[in-house]
């Protein structure tokens, strides 16, 4: 663990610089440039709002904000996991030429995604003002929930980084798993009210994505407190996964270059 902290300190500035340059090269040369970072979440919000409220006739209150919170959280989780499976392969030209602790690649990626997520959250706040959703003090519990999301995502990603190298078609498998999880996480419906009583709490508490999404909605829309017991449990699980992932990576990372 000490090695992990030392390495993060040493390569921290690289991770940030590399994240910045990834963002820069993403907008370089595209027509609407950074506007895409705003248009993208807005467009998906409108699509889901249209389908769910008009086609499926859901009567969830403040649906646009409701679904935007779900999508924002999910995008972070989903993109982190999808990219971590292939991340060493995609950075082959770096990994085969120089030693770099491999989780630095995930950390750098997470900075990119955190930045995009913060734009999304700014949009959520804006939408809340537009839709006149009353702000409540519970909004200040934002940070602990975000930390739980980050830790659990990082833990899963670091383990998948390792297996993504040795298992060729892990990406295909993960696509299916993530798709299933997408529908189970209550991104465009409320697990609490839509599922029958004993099961809804299982679906909510045993799936970290669902739990985090629900917690964000509670503090932003409902003005109530999240379930701290389960958030804490997932924080511990996340830390454990991170430790396992870091250990696996430390043990095997020097043989990655032989395989890719």
């Amino acid at each position: 663990m000490k090695k992990f902290i030392d390495n993060v300190k040493k390569y921290y500035s690289y991770a940030i610089y590399s994240a910045k340059s990834e963002l820069k090269s993403e907008v370089a040369g595209s027509y609407l440039n950074w506007l895409w970072w705003i248009l993208d979440p807005l467009a998906f919000m409108m699509i889901y709002t249209f389908i769910v409220t008009i086609v499926f006739r859901s009567n969830e209150q403040y649906f646009p904000v409701f679904v935007l919170i779900g999508l924002t959280t999910w995008n972070f989780f989903n993109s982190m996991i999808t990219s971590s499976v292939k991340i060493v392969n995609n950075n082959r030209n770096i990994v085969s030429k120089i030693y770099l602790p491999k989780y630095i690649l995930i950390i750098s990626k997470s900075f990119v995604l955190l930045f995009k997520m913060s734009i999304s959250f700014a949009l959520i706040i804006l939408m809340m003002i537009v839709m006149q959703i009353p702000f409540s003090w519970t909004i200040f519990q934002f940070l602990p929930i975000l930390i739980v999301l980050y830790v659990i995502t990082f833990g899963i990603s670091s383990i998948l980084l390792h297996f993504g190298i040795f298992v060729e078609d892990l990406a295909n498998l993960m696509n299916i798993v993530l798709k299933l999880m997408f529908y189970l996480s209550g991104i465009f419906y409320s697990i609490g009210t839509r599922l029958p009583v004993p099961y809804n709490s299982y679906f909510l508490n045993f799936n970290p994505a669902a739990l985090v999404i629900d917690s964000f909605r509670k503090i932003l829309i409902n003005g109530s407190n999240p379930d701290y017991l389960w958030l804490f449990i997932w924080l511990i699980i996340g830390l454990l996964l991170t430790m396992i992932g870091i250990n696996i990576i430390h043990k095997h990372e020097n043989s990655y270059a032989k395989v890719i």
Partner: protein, 245 residues
């Protein structure tokens, strides 16, 4: 300062490529046979010591484990057996354009590549002017790298690696890039870098003349083992005779 300071110790280094065959869910479902792990020993017990400030050339035919050895010293591979002791020196494998992002400008890529090599932003800033000057890119430095010609690209890449230097430098084939003029300049720069008394250098090359000119000592690898190790003239002579047969 001690006279005979050791910069690099390699002890009984063994590297095998084995059992790392890729696994796939599809294959696991479709085939009942377990695939046999192929083993290939790239290095089989190599030991040597190198004093600080010396220049070591590694020679040998293709597939004799030269590049594997360099990568192991650089820390990209871990040895399966044996140890590599760098005695606290920092080391870099001199390779061109590590971590370059084509859509970014040359300026940004200098920082990106430099940080990847383990330098801080301030250190790069201090050397920045020198890098740009050496690369002869002038105003192009603020244009995206993807607009560069291949010569300009390698000029920039060479300048980054040549000016941000480390204690131990590992060189895979002597780099000379660009047009004739820059080739000579980069070769001279290379020589200047290599002949610095405090720097230890390991060069892998097939070119006997270059090695003869640059190196003090030569390590001759054959099939992953040391065939000969000693002063450059002696080893190169034996190598030439061996290759002639």
């Amino acid at each position: 300062m001690k006279k005979r300071e050791i910069a690099l110790t390699v002890k009984d280094l063994r590297i095998t490529y084995k059992g790392l065959k890729k696994f796939s869910v599809k294959k696991a479902l479709l085939s009942f046979r377990t695939s046999k792990a192929e083993t290939f020993e790239a290095l089989r017990g190599v030991s040597f010591e190198l004093q600080k400030g010396k220049i070591l050339g590694i020679i040998g035919k293709n597939g004799s484990g030269k590049s594997t050895m360099l990568r192991a010293i650089a820390g990209i591979f871990s040895p399966d057996k044996g140890t590599i002791d760098l005695h606290g020196n920092n080391v870099s494998l001199l390779s061109i354009g590590v971590g370059f992002q084509p859509k970014l400008t040359g300026h940004e890529n200098i920082y990106l590549s430099g940080m990847l090599l383990g330098f801080s932003e301030a250190e790069i800033k201090a050397k920045y002017k020198e890098i740009v000057e050496f690369s002869e890119l002038k105003d192009f430095i603020h244009k995206p790298v993807k607009t560069y010609s291949s010569g300009m690209y390698s000029k920039l890449a060479f300048s980054v690696t040549a000016i941000l230097k480390t204690d131990i430098m590992l060189i895979d084939e002597v780099l000379s890039v660009g047009d004739a003029k820059f080739k000579e300049k980069s070769y001279n720069k290379m020589k200047e870098l290599i002949s610095d008394k405090h720097r230890t250098v390991v060069i892998v090359s097939h070119n006997i003349d270059t090695l003869d000119e640059l190196c003090n000592e030569i390590l001759w690898l054959d099939e992953g083992k040391i065939k000969m190790y000693g002063p450059s003239k002696k080893v190169l002579k034996a190598y030439k005779e061996f290759m002639a047969n």
